[in-house]
Every structure is written in structure tokens, then in C-alpha cells.
């Protein structure tokens, strides 16, 4: 019954991932980092100021930044400032965050609809390739 843990080594492992979200705004003239709808922040167990890795599925760019709270339910995913060079409005992005831990992790894979509203968690099976 006692769950076997993978030794005492700490690893950097995926904690959560918001999948295939749409960038709603990317404007150089505004202050930077990534603004995320507060509801998604909670669903992904993110917190304000937390470091995230953003990967742009549209153009392949990858960058790290940190989270700012956006209005709850607004569906906002906004990458202003210097990041706007790499990510454009309308791009599809995945947003990942990692934990430094020795415990087994069950990452949260967040599914969003076309307006970036939470529409459930993917189960790990759903993300496996069908054989």
C-alpha cells in the first residue's frame, strides 16, 4: 500500500500545462510577462509571479517569463513587452510550469476551449498516442 517513490533525488518535473491556448494580445508598448485569466491560474495551480515556460505552437519560439493575474473568466492570455517579438496575437501556445520535488507527480493537463475557458483536465490516457 505504501507508494514506492523514485528515490530521494529531487527532480524538476512538469507540474501543470495549459494546452493549446490562444494568445489574445501581444503588444510591445505594454508592460511585459504573461497575463493569464485568474481561473486558469487556479486550475493550473499557478500563482502570481511564478515562472512559466511558454512554447509557441504556431512559430516554434520558446521563452520563459512569469505570471500576472488577469480578470477571471476573461480568457485573457496576453504576452506584452519584449515577448511580443516572439509571440503574436492569435498564436497557439502551451504554458508549462515545473516543480522541484522528490514526490511522484500527476501533472495537471488543462484543456481550454477556443475562448481560453477551462473545459476540463485531460487524463494521462488521453494524452498517450493510440497504438
Amino acid at each position: 500500500m505504501i507508494l514506492a517513490r523514485g528515490g530521494m533525488m529531487k527532480r524538476l518535473v512538469l507540474k501543470s500545462m495549459i494546452m493549446n491556448a490562444r494568445v489574445t494580445q501581444a503588444d510591445l508598448r505594454y508592460v511585459g510577462s504573461i497575463t493569464i485569466d485568474e481561473d486558469l491560474i487556479e486550475k493550473a495551480d499557478l500563482s502570481e509571479q511564478e515562472n512559466v515556460l511558454v512554447v509557441d505552437r504556431t512559430n516554434g519560439n520558446r521563452l520563459q517569463t512569469y505570471v500576472i493575474k488577469g480578470r477571471r473568466g476573461s480568457g485573457v492570455i496576453c504576452m506584452n513587452g519584449a515577448a511580443a517579438h516572439l509571440v503574436k496575437e492569435g498564436d497557439a501556445v502551451d504554458i508549462m510550469t515545473f516543480a522541484w520535488t522528490e514526490d511522484r507527480r500527476y501533472p495537471l493537463f488543462i484543456r481550454v476551449d477556443e475562448s481560453n475557458r477551462f473545459s476540463g483536465y485531460y487524463s494521462e490516457d488521453e494524452l498517450q498516442p493510440s497504438s
Binding site: 500500500m1 505504501i2 507508494l3 507540474k15 501543470s16 510591445l28 508598448r29 505594454y30 508592460v31 511585459g32 510577462s33 497575463t35 487556479e42 486550475k43 495551480d45 500563482s47 502570481e48 509571479q49 511564478e50 515562472n51 521563452l63 520563459q64 517569463t65 512569469y66 500576472i68 493575474k69 488577469g70 480578470r71 485573457v76 496576453c78 513587452g81 519584449a82 515577448a83 511580443a84 517579438h85 516572439l86 510550469t97 515545473f98 516543480a99 522541484w100 520535488t101 514526490d103 511522484r104 507527480r105 500527476y106 495537471l108 483536465y121
Partner: protein
């Protein structure tokens, strides 16, 4: 052999106090007077003490002297709570980073070191003001006298004693306890054989007052009920140190057959709030503390609303605690107490904000669910829930007679009904559940996994030159590094707003005030003279959502102001 209470009260105690020359009794008289002042009069008193505190720290405490200067705060112009709230919160991390500069330079002040018990991870080390001791003691006496307990009464205390003390300190503590008519019981040993002795001691010592952590008293009460032991009936039971849940209150009051006076406090502040004979809410000792309740949106909580307890200690001038975030949550009352005391009320203290289990569905499941869950199947003597991630908990169980492994299926079903199917539960059968270093028991442990969070950000800096032949780094005006809390050789992320480049390197300090910002080594391949850049530095921390060192500089790389970034902000 217990001493006669009136002998302690009228002979030993006054002689000892006179010997210590600490005016506790005079202060007690003052505090007892304060409690019946009108709420307006108490606020006036509180405000006078606050202004004195702010004036003192702005002169004598380097950390605040500098902070006020940087933020343009003039303490003489602080005239209401809105002004006061412009002072940034004090957090555990700020104290850890500034433990030296938070101490007063005033040679007339004396402090003594103290630390938290480490219920929430690593202990926090800090200093208390010696001049505040008599106020703290008197405040405790005021609270006990409300419960009908006077100096010298026989007291039985369940506490996490003796663990961090030297032999000499232990002996002093024992001797002092004897002359205070107090008997100590260590919560570190609550085995059945010890509890049998404690019960016998309770019956022969006949305490009028019982003090303890709720968890320890519940264990003891549970034992006495199981063994049908009739205890001596005390006048009052005072609880503190942990959240007191309604079920615990019922059991303790039933077994001791006496009313509970709950209290809220911490090592940093001693007693902050306490129950009166009405037992409806806790009175804040607002003549000694300024307590703010801050809701999730960062605004003062309205009556009936929960908020984090933020405390300003009006008496600690040695190492001031101003707007200190305790991590504890209480509900604001916004009503007057029937007892007639003007000291403001907290409806209830809900315990540490992390005494709840969060779920992927956005629920927060409190102690009540978990205690009733543990009673829903037979054979659980003690248990502990530890949140490992938003969607995963460890459920530790110390089994007793009647436990069956099949019970986990029932528990799993109930947890899934309440916390959602996305919650992973790992059951662990253990022989004991360790106490915190302070001897407290925690049956819910929140997720304390550190997060990688931004701690420093410089906005709109300009590259003043490049030196491609030098070592790879970014050379930064030392003044800017200090303001942004970036250390020599600290890893940084540079983001170039001119061309979109992002790269990691480390910081090297250049002459303070020079305004220099030099892309050095391979960095110069991507970042050119005249580029506008941002600089970020991250840290692993369990504290988030507070202020971090987020600064704006002008085109000459001189500090302009601190920023709080919000959605859709333009500079």
C-alpha cells in the same frame, strides 16, 4: 506539593515582581482599564502608539529608514489607515533577508532572540523587545483573569516544552513553574502509559486552570474517556497554538467539564486575541497590536468575510513587526461584544490559510471534513493529510483495533465525492505521526513545494555599451542591483525589447550611480548598445503574491520608482 494560591498571589509574586522591577502589575491595571474604553478611545490609544512606533523605526531601523526614503513615505504624514497601508507587508522572507537591518540602532533598546516553532517549515529567527515583555505578561494575565483565573492559581500546562532548552534553562523553568504553581506536561510524550500518569497527576494536583494545544488536550481527553477516568474539574481550559475545531471543543469541554477560553497568538507576538466569558469571538488586544484582516483581493475584509491576519506589534521597537503577514486566517466580526469590552472582535480564527486542502475543482476542504471522514470508518487512532500537489494527497493513518485495509476503498470514495475524481490519494499506514518542533500536532499539511517565482525585475533599462572580449555577463550599476535585490554573480534573464532576444547570464556589479549597463562577452552577440532591456531574477519560494523588487529606471538607468504590475499596464 502545590503551593497555596493566595500565598503565591499575595507574597511570592509581588516580591518576585518587585525584585525584577518590571511593573507588570501596574501595566496589568492599565490594560484592564483599557479593555472597557470605548472603541474610539482604544483606536486613539492604538494610533498614538502606532505613530510613536513609526517615528522610532524611521529614525533608528535601517531597513525602514531606507524603505521609507525609497518609497517617499513620510511617517509624520501618515494620518489614517489608508496612509498606513502604503507601507509594504513584512513577510518571513523579508525578515530572513534583512535580519540585521531590521534591528534598531537605538542603543537604549534591548532585545532577546526568539524563533518560531517551525510548524510551517523552517523556523523563523527574530528578536523581541525586552521592554515589551511586561506588556506581554500583563496581557496574558488580563486574559486569564477574564476566564476567572488569578495569579497563583494551580495550572496544568500541556505544551511542547523542554525540547529546545538547555539543562540550565530546563531547571530554571521547573523552579519558576513550581513557584508559579504550574505543572508542565510535555506534548512530546503522549503515550498511554504517560497519560495514565498525567491523569493521576491531574487528580492529585487539582488544577483550576488547564492550558494546552487543542490536539494534545483532545488526545488526553480521549484517553480519559476511553479509560473512564474522572478528572478533577478545573475552572477554565485555555487553548491556543493551533486551530480549535468545534468537535475538539465539544470533547474537551465534556471531559474536563469546564468552559474553553480559546486564544490566538504566535511566538512573534505572544497573545493577540482571546475569548471572553461570552465565548462568541475573540477580542483583539488592540492596545498592544494593530490587527488588519486582508481579503483575497488585498483589501480589508468586511464583517463576515475571511482575511489573512496582518499584525503590527505596537510594542516591539527593537525589531519591529509592521504589517506582518501571519498566514493565519480569521473572519471579521464587525459587532460589539455583549461583555461590554471595547476591544474589537474577530468572529473566529480559521487557522492557517494552509490548514485546508485545495482541490483541482477550486474547492478548499477544511479540517471539519477530514476529522469527520476519519471517524466514518473504525480503527483510525490518528491521521494526517498532506497535500503534495493540487491533485494529490498523502493520507497517513495510525491504525488501532478494528482497522481493515478495505477501509481505504470507503475513504477513497468519500474523498472523491468531496474533492473530485482528479484527486490522487496515497494511503500510508504508519506507526506514529511526528509532532512539529514546537510539540504541536498538525493533521493537515499544505503543499509547501517551492515554486520558481520572480523576485527581481528591472524595467526599461538601456544598454550603454558592449564589451564582447570580456567574460560573459551583464554589468549593472551597483545601485540598481541593490534596489532590485540582485546579488553579485546572480543568474539573470535578460529580455531585449528592441529585438526580442532573451538570454540567461549572470550579473556583475558596476560602479553605483554610474548608470552603466554593459553587455559583456557572448551576450553582446544578441544585445547591442542602445537596446532597451528588461532584467529578471527568480528564486525558489513558497511565498508568492507579495511585493517583489520590481523597479522602473529612466533612460540613464537611474531608479524612478517601484512598480506593481497589473493587467494591461503601459509605461
Amino acid at each position: 506539593m502545590p503551593l497555596i494560591p493566595s500565598f503565591v498571589r499575595n507574597v511570592i509574586y509581588p516580591i518576585y515582581r518587585g525584585f525584577k522591577r518590571d511593573r507588570i502589575l501596574a501595566i496589568l491595571e492599565e490594560l484592564e482599564g483599557n479593555q472597557y474604553l470605548s472603541s474610539g478611545e482604544i483606536e486613539d490609544l492604538q494610533w498614538r502608539r502606532l505613530q510613536e512606533l513609526l517615528r522610532q523605526v524611521s529614525v533608528h531601523v535601517p531597513y525602514y529608514r531606507e524603505l521609507f526614503k525609497r518609497r517617499g513615505i513620510n511617517v509624520r504624514q501618515i494620518s489614517d489607515m489608508d496612509d498606513f497601508r502604503k507601507i509594504p507587508y513584512l513577510t518571513r522572507n523579508v525578515i530572513k533577508d534583512n535580519s540585521r537591518s531590521l534591528i534598531t540602532g537605538d542603543p537604549l533598546r534591548n532585545g532577546y532572540p526568539s524563533s518560531t516553532g517551525g510548524s510551517t517549515g523552517a523556523p523563523l529567527y527574530f528578536y523581541c523587545d525586552r521592554a515589551a515583555i511586561p506588556f506581554r505578561r500583563a496581557n496574558r494575565l488580563r486574559q486569564l483573569r477574564i476566564a476567572g483565573i488569578d495569579i497563583g492559581t494551580r495550572e496544568l500546562k500541556f505544551w511542547g516544552v523542554d525540547m529546545d532548552l538547555s539543562l540550565k534553562e530546563r531547571i530554571i523553568r521547573r523552579v519558576r513553574s513550581y513557584f508559579n504553581n504550574t505543572r508542565l506536561i510535555s506534548t512530546f510524550d503522549m503515550s498511554d502509559s504517560r497519560m495514565k500518569k498525567y491523569a493521576a497527576m491531574e487528580r492529585s494536583f487539582k488544577p483550576e486552570l488547564i492550558i494546552g494545544y487543542p490536539s494534545a488536550l483532545v488526545q488526553f481527553a480521549g484517553y480519559c474517556r476511553r479509560k473512564s477516568i474522572n478528572l478533577h474539574k478545573p475552572e477554565a481550559v485555555v487553548t491556543g497554538g493551533e486551530t480549535l475545531y468545534p468537535k475538539q471543543r465539544e470533547l474537551i469541554e465534556e471531559v474536563f467539564n469546564a468552559p474553553i477560553y480559546n486564544s490566538y497568538g504566535s511566538r512573534e507576538f505572544a497573545d493577540v486575541a482571546f475569548e471572553c466569558q461570552e465565548h462568541r469571538g475573540l477580542h483583539i488586544a488592540s492596545d498592544l497590536h494593530l490587527v488588519e484582516l486582508i481579503n483575497k483581493e488585498g483589501r480589508p475584509a468586511r464583517p463576515g468575510e475571511a482575511g489573512e491576519i496582518v499584525v503590527t506589534d505596537l510594542m516591539n521597537m527593537y525589531m519591529p513587526f509592521i504589517r506582518y503577514r501571519t498566514g493565519d486566517v480569521a473572519v471579521a466580526a464587525g459587532r460589539k461584544c455583549e461583555c461590554g469590552r471595547g476591544l474589537p472582535l474577530l468572529e473566529r480564527v480559521e487557522g492557517r490559510s494552509f490548514d485546508n486542502i485545495r482541490t483541482p475543482d477550486g474547492k478548499s476542504v477544511g479540517g471539519f471534513f477530514w476529522t469527520s471522514l476519519s471517524r466514518s470508518v473504525p480503527g483510525i487512532r490518528r491521521f494526517q493529510i498532506e497535500q503534495k500537489a493540487l491533485n494529490s494527497i498523502d493520507f497517513r493513518i495510525v491504525p488501532e483495533q478494528g482497522w481493515k485495509d478495505e477501509n481505504t476503498g470507503i475513504l477513497r470514495k468519500k474523498i472523491s465525492d468531496c474533492c473530485g475524481a482528479n484527486m490522487h490519494v496515497n494511503f500510508l499506514i504508519v506507526t506514529e505521526i511526528p509532532l512539529t518542533p514546537a510539540g504541536k500536532s498538525k493533521f493537515i499539511i499544505s503543499d509547501t513545494t517551492d515554486r520558481l517565482v520572480i523576485k527581481s525585475k528591472v524595467h526599461k533599462a538601456s544598454i550603454t555599451g558592449t564589451e564582447p572580449e570580456m567574460s560573459d555577463c551583464l554589468r549593472i550599476d551597483g545601485e540598481i542591483m541593490k534596489l532590485a535585490n540582485i546579488d553579485q554573480y546572480e543568474k539573470i534573464l535578460i529580455v531585449d525589447a528592441t529585438n526580442g532576444a532573451r538570454l540567461e547570464t549572470f550579473a556583475v556589479s558596476d560602479r553605483p550611480g554610474s548608470g552603466r549597463m554593459v553587455a559583456s562577452g557572448a551576450v553582446a552577440n544578441h544585445i547591442r548598445e542602445g537596446d532597451e532591456i528588461g532584467i529578471m531574477a527568480f528564486t525558489w519560494s513558497s511565498e508568492t503574491g507579495g511585493n517583489f523588487s520590481n523597479i522602473l529606471v529612466d533612460e540613464d538607468n537611474h531608479f524612478v520608482r517601484y512598480l506593481t504590475e497589473i493587467e494591461g499596464m503601459k509605461l
